[in-house]
Structure formats: C-alpha cells, structure tokens
Assembly symmetry: C2
Homo-oligomer: 140 residues x 2
DNA sequence: ATAATTGCAAATTTTTTGCAGGTTC
DNA sequence: GAACCTGCAAAAAATTTGCAATTAT
C-alpha cells in the first residue's frame, strides 16, 4: 500500500483499510466505474461492501481525492486527482487514457470563457474515437 | 410543432405525437435531463408516460437526433443534435449554454489525437464555472 | 474517549422490460 | 395490413439510508 494514508489525512479523511484498498484499485485500473472498483476491491478484501464503495467514492470526490469522469452512454468512471489532462475514450474497447492538456488548448478554452464572462473553474475534455489497437482490429 | 416530423423520418423513425412533443420540450429547454423533459412534456400531454420518454431518448440518441451531454455530479442532459460546439456549465445554477467551437480549438484537439494515433470521432468539451449571473449573486 | 467509518439490510430512486392495444406509413 | 410505437404495471438495476458494531486518531 502506497502513501494513500497520508493522502487521505491531508484531505481530512481517516485512513481506513477500505479507503486505501479502493484508492489502490482505482490507481491500478487507471479509470474505473463503481462496479469495476467493487470487483477489484473484493479480490483482496472480500467483505468490503458495495455500500462502502459508494459512500467512499462520494466522500473522496467531495474532498478532492478522486475525480468523476462522465462518459457518454456509460456509467461514470473515477480516477485519482492529478494534474489537469484530457481523455481519449475508445468507443470500441472502452479504454480511457490521459493526455497532457497543453497550453494552447488551455488558452483556447480560456478565451471562450472570457468572451462569455464565464468564470472558468474546471475543464472536462473527452475525445471519443478508436484507439490504435481497435483501429487495427476493425481493419481486419 | 415545427418540422420535427421530417427530422424524425429522415432518421427512419415514425413521427409520433409523443416524439414530437419530446423534441419540442428539449428544444425549448435547450438542455434537459430525463425528469425535466418528462415534466415539460406532461404539461401539454399529461398521459405521456415516463417509459416512453426513456425509450425515445434511447432511440433518438441511437439514431443521431439527440445528443447526450454528461455532466459531472448530475444526471446527463440531452440536446438536439446540431453543429459541433462546447458547453459552459454553471456550477451554481446548473445552466448549460452552447458556444462555438472555433477552429483553433478543433485543431488543437486533432493534434493531440494524431500524436496518439487516435482516430478522433467526437469531441465533448465542457467548461465548468460560474455564469455571469451567478458571479453577480455570489458577490453580494 | 470520541468521532468517524463500516457492513448489513432495507428503502429509494432510476431505468428497463413485456405485452396488449393503438398508431403510422 | 405490417411494422412500429405507446402506456401500463412489473421487474431489474443503481444508489442511498439507518443503525449497531467497529475502528482510527
């Protein structure tokens, strides 16, 4: 188990085994929805309840430890909070990968917000398409 | 009722009163979730069932008449399919407004996709923050 | 010691489904 | 008239809640 205990305490949350297990599962999976997290977590802690997964996801999102990633047509996924980035979402295999959000892109969105007197707080950029693996398999 | 009948037929769907009512509700609301659509639609057609709203949203999204707009922490909203754009989502009042997605922004996202050999199909750009109205009321 | 957290079971909410009757093309 | 669509009621799925027992600090 990494330094999840510290991470949790920094956010004013108790470092329970359940929470650390959940964080570890999400980090391993990269991006995962509630069911995927629950499945993963049961492998190492079979008695951890689904209700606890739900409660903790809500709490950890509120406290800024996790971030919700809503996906068109699917259940939201969750990831550890990290540097701002965008998502490449494969419409074939469902994979989600992070990519750097470069300054040009950031600046472009800032301009749009400014021109509407909109006080920008967060960006959520998802690009949907085919990952390179799925382009290959579709071609066959 | 506008030319919803034609729109539906172009997409291979029968032009029922229910569908046209739903489309009209969504157009009036701009962006709305299932419950908001159901509420609106009941005003003019009180017997229209929630199940019908659900079924038709699914069908019309599949056929490309509607687009799902997932929102962090809330139920997805739906809008009529139109020219590509981004969304300004107010975290205070929940309003969602469309803004033009300019060529710079489009080009920047294309670059990211290309550099990952990702075959881009759709973009989903949501900017979260405070709309100008809510900035004023928060200041008071 | 105490305040927060867990797991369970039950309750609620949300979404989907089956099917008989009705409507569109 | 055939295929599709609707509304209802019931089923299934997803999420939330209450509370007694347990755990972290």
């Amino acid at each position: 188990m990494k330094n999840y205990a510290e991470l949790l305490k920094e956010h004013g949350l108790k470092a329970t085994f359940q929470r650390m297990t959940i964080l570890s599962a999400i980090e391993e999976l990269g991006h995962a929805n509630v069911d995927e997290i629950y499945e993963k977590v049961r492998q190492s802690h079979p008695t951890l309840s689904l209700a606890t997964v739900y409660k903790n996801i809500i709490t950890m999102v509120e406290e800024g430890v996790l971030v919700e990633v809503p996906i068109v047509g699917k259940k939201s996924k969750y990831e550890l909070k990290k540097e701002e980035h965008l998502h490449l979402v494969c419409i074939e295999c469902g994979s989600v990968v992070d990519r750097k959000l470069d300054e040009d892109l950031a600046e472009d969105t800032r301009k749009v917000a400014d021109s509407s007197s909109f006080a920008l707080r967060e960006r959520q950029l998802n690009l949907y398409g085919l990952c390179s693996e799925c382009q290959v398999s579709k071609a066959s």
